[in-house]
């Protein structure tokens, strides 16, 4: 289970990176990055998972005294939440950039924006 999620996560990361490095269209690059981000998030969650344990919610089902033995590590999940929020922010910013680039240059081809070089 954990191996599978890790494998899926890394596969997504690599697929996303591949997409971002091969697609010339800026929007496609951004979508590829979100795919890769999702992959990273899956990896994060997978790392926190432990066999046979329950969700880290302290209620009647999991008394505080036994919590340490019965719940999975809650920290990666908290990290994932933060990472998702940050990913959202960065993606939004990149989309704003894409809009701006398109409105000034009339193209979304990333290879056209090479006035700055060398």
């Amino acid at each position: 289970m954990i191996t599978l999620s890790l494998a899926v996560g890394f596969a997504l990361v690599l697929a996303g990176l591949y997409g971002a490095l091969t697609n010339r269209n800026i929007l496609r690059m951004i979508v590829s990055f979100t795919v890769a981000d999702t992959g990273v998030n899956i990896v994060l969650v997978a790392v926190g998972w432990m066999r046979g344990r329950t969700a880290p919610i302290l209620d009647d089902a999991v008394p505080i005294a036994e919590a340490a033995q019965r719940i999975i590590d809650p920290l990666p999940q908290a990290l994932v939440l933060t990472a998702i929020v940050i990913g959202l922010g960065v993606t939004a910013l990149m989309l704003a950039y894409a809009y701006r680039l398109y409105s000034t240059a009339g193209t979304l081809d990333v290879s056209k924006f090479t006035e700055l070089k060398w």
């Binding site: 990273v40 990472a83 090479t114 700055l116």
Partner: protein
């Protein structure tokens, strides 16, 4: 003490606070932003003060009421406080620089700025790796916003490239963090440092490696940094300053903080990446022509150097903080200052920086920043460079020293080229006024650089360069700049004479001779400066006094640190002086590059000699042991010979001396060259004969001296320009002196000292004479002159005496030099170089004859009929020199007797015997007074005879020697005095071909060619940049896994 949490709270509060304001009240929003940044800076500064002055202990700040690892904690220690102060101050001052842009874009942009500074501070403060990630992402988003503050439409593309690469880095970082957490069980850096799982390697090691690479990527390592360069070039310079100074500081500290988790195994990786970055970025910067992109390359390089130092932290031990900190603050202050300066300049090419000349104080700031970046004294980078090379040499890592010094030389090359361009280019016309607040920020930053120099100096165990009285006096002349040049000139003379008087009782005879030449000789040359003392002559006096300060410090230096600091001070001062000439830009550049190259050789030599202790007395050079000693000798000798312009290292001299101003030429020729001789004296006295691979190094020096004498004299023969002739002749003269020193016998050294004195006198005198002629005729080309003897009789007399002295014929002091010299070479077994040096004697006659013949004799040119004698201020020192030449010829014992006795302490054999007026050596005797009488009698008789014959001479009318059907496209070719020694040239020309010029030109061309080719790696395509980053990660992983199996 205010809790460091408030730094973050105020940043966030200001950001959200301006968001609540009405969109139209931009002024208020700007005020709130500035107040917030100021408060954050104040907190950082308060802590820094507490740590440094009050000795408070570092603290941990808990958040959320729980200790780590259950909650995030912050650390506030001296390093954190310093970095936070730098970051927040940079943010504050940049906000002032970006005022218009911020007001135009409104409160959102201001909020983003506050967030950026807050997040950068957070990176420094936090001890939690995931929190580190969050702050980094905040910086990414804020950077993405702030890049758009620029007026440059290309900034949008640059920002997008940055975001693309940041995405890659953040994915790496996140994956690295979660696996490190998995292995180490904590996100707290301090917990992880104790954890064995990460250090053990394996999967956790790989995860940590990914985290490290992600952090390293934030420092913009070469070559995975095209995105950063584009941001530097296109962003608003105010943001450029933050990106260079603050972001880099934060990223470096993050690396430093986290690398401890992985342990020592990861350090070599940082050193390797850092050094590749430092050398690579500096090399590529050589072909840059856009100021901000150049600053970008330079930033990348400097940060790379600090990264390398982080990798060396175990090796540096307790000195680590001073070294890394020194390099980092020098970079941060200088780079921020230069970016802010660039805002005051309208164009983006180097020549546009000439606009700064309208405010000399900005040139002062510019010079300060350039010196800070180049690691010159008295700035922190200088101390760091010293410590770093010594520590590396002590650990047996000369290859790292070489890499660092080569990179630093590249950097000095392009920085000084830029500086020279700014000072010599024509300022653009009709530019608007520079706003006071922006000028103020720049000046404040420059002054901050000086304060930091003092801080590092005070903390340095080797000595505080800024505490040296000569340097302080020279700096005081900066404050005197508003005074008129006449007053400053008088003060300068008084100061030099007073310095000599106060040092007099403490000098040994050798020091006394050099001090007399530098200080009293300098004062005499300043007399000539009255001729040019109209107005303020801005920049002249601080530069000259800086050079004299360096020379004065050099003479009395007791340890290698003092010696080296003095060497660099005199190099900078003389560079500024040489740069003042109208056409001297390329020559000043080649001077400073050769000099700094030489200085680096000296630094490496001292470091190699010192072994484990960096505070090394000069007398300790005696004890340097066998495997190192010859190398120390080679490095030091090469360094000193860049100043004596020995053949091969001489190409800077002719231009630098010839193009310098009239009163500067004697300073840099008569006085400055002696610094190299002083160094060689010191070296040979302490180290004596050394041999490398069975070759006697003094014999090599002997050959170099002989070759310099021969080729220098030969090249002088074929010059048309009188000042160039004198300059080439200096190469020859210094060759004699080096030869004398390398003879390693008593008389050789004595002769070298004779040359030190004589060369100062006659070369200064001749440069002033020729300068006076130039002032009157407006040309330095000798064939354009002629017959000036009647119009400028005093100058003629001075030149006559000067060349008689220089040629070494009796009766003037040059003969004494020759006499000692011939005695000295009879003592040596080296016959062949002796023949060479013998040959160069008559050659000197050829060029000296031209001086008197072509300039003063023959027919007067029509356009010169009305000229007058040179100004009295130029004539006065020449007459003094004439008197001295005659006096020294009659009584050489005045100076030499003491020195003779002093040299006997080192080489007692074959000392001279001083008996009344007669001087006896092993081979004969010399009585200066009787020689003088004999010569004067012969001279007067001959002169009377000639005057008698002169009655029959006829007046000749001017005529042109062009024959019919000859078409003189170049009229000078028909002049008899042009190409005067054509027959000799046909015979000896091949010897004077500019082989060495071609060699060095080929080196520079190759470097520039390389740089121009290699920089095409940065295609400008964001995707290619991302690919390069991924490639960088793969290669570093592969190499690191290879290194740590």
């Amino acid at each position: 003490m205010v809790s460091p949490l408030f730094i973050l709270a105020i940043g966030l509060g200001a950001a959200f606070g301006v968001g609540l304001l009405d969109a139209r009240s931009r002024g208020l929003a700007f005020a709130i932003t500035l107040a917030g940044l100021a408060a954050m800076s104040a907190i950082g500064a308060e802590w820094l003060w507490a740590f440094v002055v009050d000795g408070v202990q570092p603290i941990m700040v808990m958040t959320a009421g729980a200790p780590p690892p259950f909650a995030i904690n912050l650390r506030m220690g001296p390093a954190e406080a310093a970095l936070v102060a730098i970051i927040c101050l940079t943010g504050l001052l940049s906000a002032i620089q970006m005022r218009e842009a911020l007001l135009r874009l409104g409160r959102r942009a201001m909020a983003v700025l506050s967030i950026a500074v807050m997040a950068l501070s957070g990176i420094v403060l936090t001890r939690d790796v995931f929190n580190l990630f969050v702050f980094f992402e905040l910086v990414v988003i804020a950077t993405g916003g702030l890049v758009l503050l620029s007026d440059d439409p290309r900034a949008t593309a640059a920002g997008f490239k940055y975001l693309v690469v940041s995405q890659v880095a953040s994915m790496l970082m996140l994956i690295g963090i979660v696996f490190v957490y998995h292995a180490g069980g904590s996100l707290n850096v301090d917990d992880l440092i104790g954890s064995p799982a990460v250090a053990a390697g394996g999967a956790a090691g790989l995860a940590f490696l990914l985290l490290m690479i992600a952090l390293v990527l934030e420092t913009k390592p070469f070559p995975a940094n095209g995105w950063a360069l584009d941001v530097y070039e296109a962003a608003h310079p105010g943001f450029g300053a933050i990106f260079s100074a603050a972001s880099a500081s934060a990223a470096l500290y993050a690396v430093d903080k986290v690398v401890g988790v992985g342990g020592a195994a990861f350090l070599p990786m940082l050193t390797a990446i850092g050094l590749v970055t430092f050398v690579g970025a500096n090399l590529l910067a050589l072909s840059q022509t856009v100021d901000r992109r150049l600053l970008g390359y330079s930033s990348v390089a400097q940060v790379g150097l600090v990264l390398a130092v982080i990798g060396l932290r175990d090796l540096l031990g307790e000195r680590y903080l001073m070294v890394a900190g020194g390099l980092l603050v020098a970079h941060a202050v200088a780079k921020a200052g230069l970016f802010w300066l660039s805002e005051l300049v309208a164009g983006r090419d180097f020549a546009a920086w000439a606009a700064l000349r309208r405010r000399p104080i900005l040139i002062f700031a510019f010079a300060t920043f350039v010196a800070m970046l180049a690691g010159l004294p008295p700035f922190p980078g200088f101390y760091a460079k010293w410590e770093l090379t010594h520590a590396l040499m002590a650990q047996g890592r000369p290859e790292l020293v070489a890499a660092i010094l080569v990179g630093a030389l590249f950097e000095a090359g392009y920085l000084f080229r830029w500086f020279g361009r700014a000072l010599k280019a024509t300022p653009p016309e009709g530019v608007s006024d520079l706003p006071v607040s922006k000028v103020g920020v720049v000046v404040l930053t420059a002054l901050g650089g000086w304060v930091l120099g003092e801080v590092w100096g005070a903390a340095s165990p080797y000595g505080d360069v800024l505490g040296a009285t000569p340097l302080l006096v020279a700096l005081a002349f900066l404050a005197l700049e508003p005074l008129s040049a006449r007053i400053k000139n008088t003060l300068a003379i008084v100061v030099l004479v007073a310095a000599f008087a106060s040092g007099w009782p403490h000098f040994d005879p050798l020091q006394l001779i050099f001090a007399a030449i530098v200080l009293l000789g300098g004062a005499v040359i300043f007399v000539a400066s009255y001729a040019f003392a109209d107005g303020r002559r801005t920049g002249f006096y601080p530069s000259a006094m800086l050079m004299y300060a360096g020379l004065a410090m050099l003479i009395v230096a007791k340890d290698t640190f003092g010696f080296f600091a003095a060497w660099e001070v005199l190099t900078i001062g003389s560079y500024f002086l040489i740069l003042r000439g109208k056409q001297s830009e390329p020559h000043a550049l080649s001077y400073v590059v050769f000099s700094l190259g030489g200085a680096f050789a000296i630094l490496a030599g001292f470091a190699l000699a010192a072994e484990t202790t960096a505070l090394f007395p000069i007398a300790g050079l005696k004890q340097v042991a066998a495997p190192f000693a010859p190398w120390v000798f080679v490095l030091l000798a090469v360094g000193f010979m860049t100043k004596t312009a020995s053949i091969g290292l001489h190409i800077w001299l002719p231009g630098a001396h010839a193009e310098a101003e009239t009163d500067v030429s004697p300073m840099v020729s008569g006085i400055l060259l002696k610094a190299g001789l002083f160094g060689l004296f010191m070296l040979l006295m302490q180290m004596g004969r050394q041999s490398l691979y069975g070759v006697d190094l003094t014999l090599v020096l002997l050959w170099i001296g002989a070759a310099s004498a021969l080729l220098g004299n030969l090249m002088a023969v074929f010059q048309e320009d009188a000042k160039r002739l004198l300059a080439y002749s200096s190469i020859g003269q210094m060759g004699y002196a080096v030869f004398g020193l390398a003879l390693m016998n008593h008389l050789g050294w004595l002769m070298a000292l004779m040359f030190v004195i004589n060369h100062y006198i006659y070369k200064s005198s001749l440069f002033l004479s020729v300068g006076g002629v130039y002032k009157r005729t407006g040309t330095r080309e000798m064939y354009r002159m002629g017959g000036l003897i009647t119009l400028m009789p005093l100058t003629f007399f001075a030149v006559l005496v000067g060349i008689v002295a220089m040629s070494g014929v009796p009766p003037l002091s040059g003969f004494g030099g020759r006499w000692i010299f011939y005695n000295a070479i009879l003592d040596t077994p080296a016959r062949l170089p002796m023949v060479v040096i013998f040959l160069s004697g008559p050659i000197a006659f050829l060029y000296l004859f031209r001086l008197i013949h072509t300039i003063f004799l023959g027919q007067l040119k029509d356009e010169h009929r009305r000229i007058r004698e040179a100004p009295i201020w130029l004539i006065a020192p020449q007459m003094l020199y004439v008197a001295f030449l005659i006096g020294f010829a009659l009584f050489p014992g005045l100076a030499l007797r003491k020195v003779d006795a002093f040299i006997s302490r080192f080489i007692p054999e074959h000392a001279l015997n001083w008996d009344g007026l007669t001087i006896t050596s092993a081979y004969g005797y010399w009585n200066p007074v009787s020689i003088m009488i004999v010569i004067v009698v012969i001279f007067v008789t001959l002169l009377a005879w000639l005057v008698f014959l002169n009655r029959r001479a006829q007046m000749v009318k001017q005529f042109n020697i062009v024959f019919a059907a000859e078409r003189p496209y170049r009229p000078e070719t028909t002049h008899f005095a042009w190409n005067f020694f054509a027959p000799y040239r046909r015979a000896l020309g091949p010897l004077t071909e500019p082989y060495f010029e071609r060699f060095w030109q080929a080196q520079t061309d190759a470097l520039h060619g390389w740089a121009g080719f290699a920089r095409r790696f940065y295609t400008g395509d964001g995707q290619v940049y991302a690919f390069q980053v991924v490639g960088f990660v793969v290669i570093v992983c592969w190499a690191a896994m290879g290194m740590t199996p």
